[in-house]
Symmetry: C2
Subunit: 394 residues, 2 copies
């Protein structure tokens, strides 16, 4: 009767139940459920009521939850579609990285902060947190629409650029200056990984799949998909990208076989179980008490800049597709998440960034994360009644 | 880029891949896959090659995996069936507890060990590890046969008796003597819980289920089932039983609605993902180097006694059903697991039990765990060709 397990089971139950209960309440008043799951984390988390302090194990579960959110998103995206939107997605990603960085940097300089601090804030404004958007798109059942594919594709590239920027600011923070060689290697590895996963991996898999179907293990197709998802998640963390990028590409690799192997419903079971821990944990990291007076003002300005720059930067390359597409993609790319928090934390721990600048970044993350889901829902409202690309319900 | 996560993902991948690969190899030579998963743990685990040292997080994942193995088993058992085999199951459980305890106690006394040490060994020989048997029965697709239901039912009662014995020996170990009040409370709580879950919970649930189907959350039926599974697992750990007992009864509660809600395939996805960590961890706890000379002899004798006493004790009440049922149930109840190891550990840590007695118990656990699955497979070989109760494939 190990008592550690009693504590763990209690946390698992309370977080799961609280997140889904809040989600249900939000759905009933026509707000995205994921918002409820995040706010449940903020309210019950260590910075507010402090009823639940997520342990290391819960953090690990949350991380695996994020992996399965992206794996599911990948399963619902076909490599062909991603290639088709590829050019647009890359433009969206680059514009959506450059503009937020410049605006964030400029505002902090205008406030009179030193350049290094301005670079950190700019870098924190760059990387989209695709987990939240993927979940909202999936809940709205529009994940196979064209704009959803551009968002997912752009978010992948933008995450890679974010990782490069993180390596850059980490170099600044270490005081060793920039290690250009390291940056070059990171960029080359990321590019090679992405190209391989889009163009080569699905073809290899199409050749070997009959062997998978002949395996003796029960549910062999699911087992193989899970093993490859875990492997690619680890690999992309290993070469310095986010684990979720690997998970997304693992899903992409299996997407053409997903219906035949009945993968979506079985993987969805895992995602349904683990994802609430991810969204709850995001919420639990937000400290609503950090904000007073001047910090709050700066936080609001940075948040507005983060929103405007991402919507304009990501939307502009799509002007020809009409305003709806501009805003769908722009807002879809809005939420910032883990990468922003990590950039800020690196800066704080190395003493380059002050407590109040850290609070500004956290506030920006919170606001972009919380505002994107309800706006997305409004923007996709007409989709099922015959929008750009009527989607099949999963 | 937190590097802890890279390490975690690596462990998750390696354990999953190694367990399933070994399982596939075993299936190909017509041995149960679960045996391969366990042996993968022993070979790669800390006591042999030491390539993988399961971290605390992996242990937690393993525990949740065990919960889902029993939740799945519960989903495949209907409360009505359990009530029908109830009398037989209780007889099997009691005979299967008394005989192993007496034989273990007697042998250790004959060897010249003190009474307290003999009581520990006897207690360790009592509790069946139902996780392994449930997995084998499920793999063989005979989990809805009559004997499978007797095994699952008896294993639940036997686990409760095991917990009572554990409380008893823990009292011995603490030197405070026996706390009869504590034992009585434990027994009363366990009985109340089991009776409530078999007779009352499914009825309550039949009344409220239309409300679940009206919830706004996506996949609400699965979400509610998962929340109740986590809650009952915690609750049964809280009142001093094993968490997996709660998980089994949670499954039982939903079993009548499982097909309508498409629960089995979605929960199976979760079980497929998490269960390998449980079986790998069981294997990783076995230290093959503990055994030399006299210890090995005693270990073999105790193991044989553990096997014979369980097969006879559990099988005898079923003599009227024919020899096949006797052996199926007897062998199905054979594997000892966590409870035996915990009893031994409590004894070791309190200094009552010696290192060599501890090794004897570990050996007995290993041997009963490893030998039951292949024998079960042989005993159920004719089932699908029209055995006692031809079963529907799940």
């Amino acid at each position: 009767m190990p008592h550690g397990s009693e504590q763990l089971l209690f946390e698992l139950f309370v977080i799961f139940a609280a997140a889904k209960l809040a989600g249900e309440m939000f759905e009933r008043i026509s707000l995205p459920g994921v918002l409820g799951e995040i706010l449940a984390g903020t309210v019950l988390g260590p910075y507010a009521l402090a009823w639940v302090r997520p342990s290391d194990t819960i953090s690990s579960v949350a991380e695996v939850g994020a992996i399965f959110v992206l794996f599911t998103a990948g399963l619902e995206t076909s490599p062909g579609d991603l290639i088709r939107v590829g050019r647009k997605a890359i433009l969206v990603a680059i514009a959506g990285v450059v503009l937020p960085f410049l605006l964030g940097f400029a505002y902090m300089k205008l406030r009179g902060d030193p350049s290094t601090e301005a670079i950190f804030v700019g870098a924190a404004m760059v990387a989209t947190s695709v987990g939240i958007t993927a979940r909202v798109l999936s809940d709205l059942r529009v994940i196979s629409s064209d704009t959803a594919k551009i968002i997912l594709g752009a978010a992948v590239f933008d995450d890679i650029l974010g990782m490069v920027l993180l390596a850059l600011v980490a170099g600044l923070a270490s005081g060793n200056g920039l290690e250009w060689l390291h940056l070059g290697v990171l960029l080359a590895e990321a590019a090679a990984f992405v190209l391989f996963m889009i163009f080569v991996a699905p073809r290899i898999f199409r050749r070997v799949h009959p062997k998978v179907e002949k395996l003796s293990t029960q549910d062999a197709s699911l087992i193989v998909a899970l093993a490859i998802c875990l492997f690619l998640s680890w690999l992309s963390a290993k070469i310095g990208m986010a684990a979720i990028i690997g998970a997304f590409f693992a899903g992409l690799m299996f997407s053409d076989f997903a219906p035949r192997w009945n993968l979506p419903s079985r993987v969805r079971g895992i995602t349904d179980f683990l994802a609430p821990y991810f969204f709850f944990s995001i919420g639990a990291q937000l400290n609503p008490r950090l904000f007073t007076g001047k910090v709050l003002l700066a936080a609001v300005v940075v948040s507005v800049l983060a929103i405007v720059s991402k919507v304009i930067g990501c939307g502009l390359p799509l002007l020809r597709e009409g305003w709806l597409s501009v805003f769908r993609v722009g807002v879809g790319m809005m939420p910032r998440g883990e990468v922003a928090l990590i950039v800020a934390l690196v800066g704080l721990q190395s003493g380059i960034v002050t407590q109040s600048t850290y609070a500004i970044v956290v506030f920006m993350t919170a606001l972009t994360t919380l505002t994107a889901p309800p706006i997305l829902r409004i923007l996709y409202r007409n989709e099922t009644r015959g929008g750009e690309n009527p989607t099949a319900a999963v």
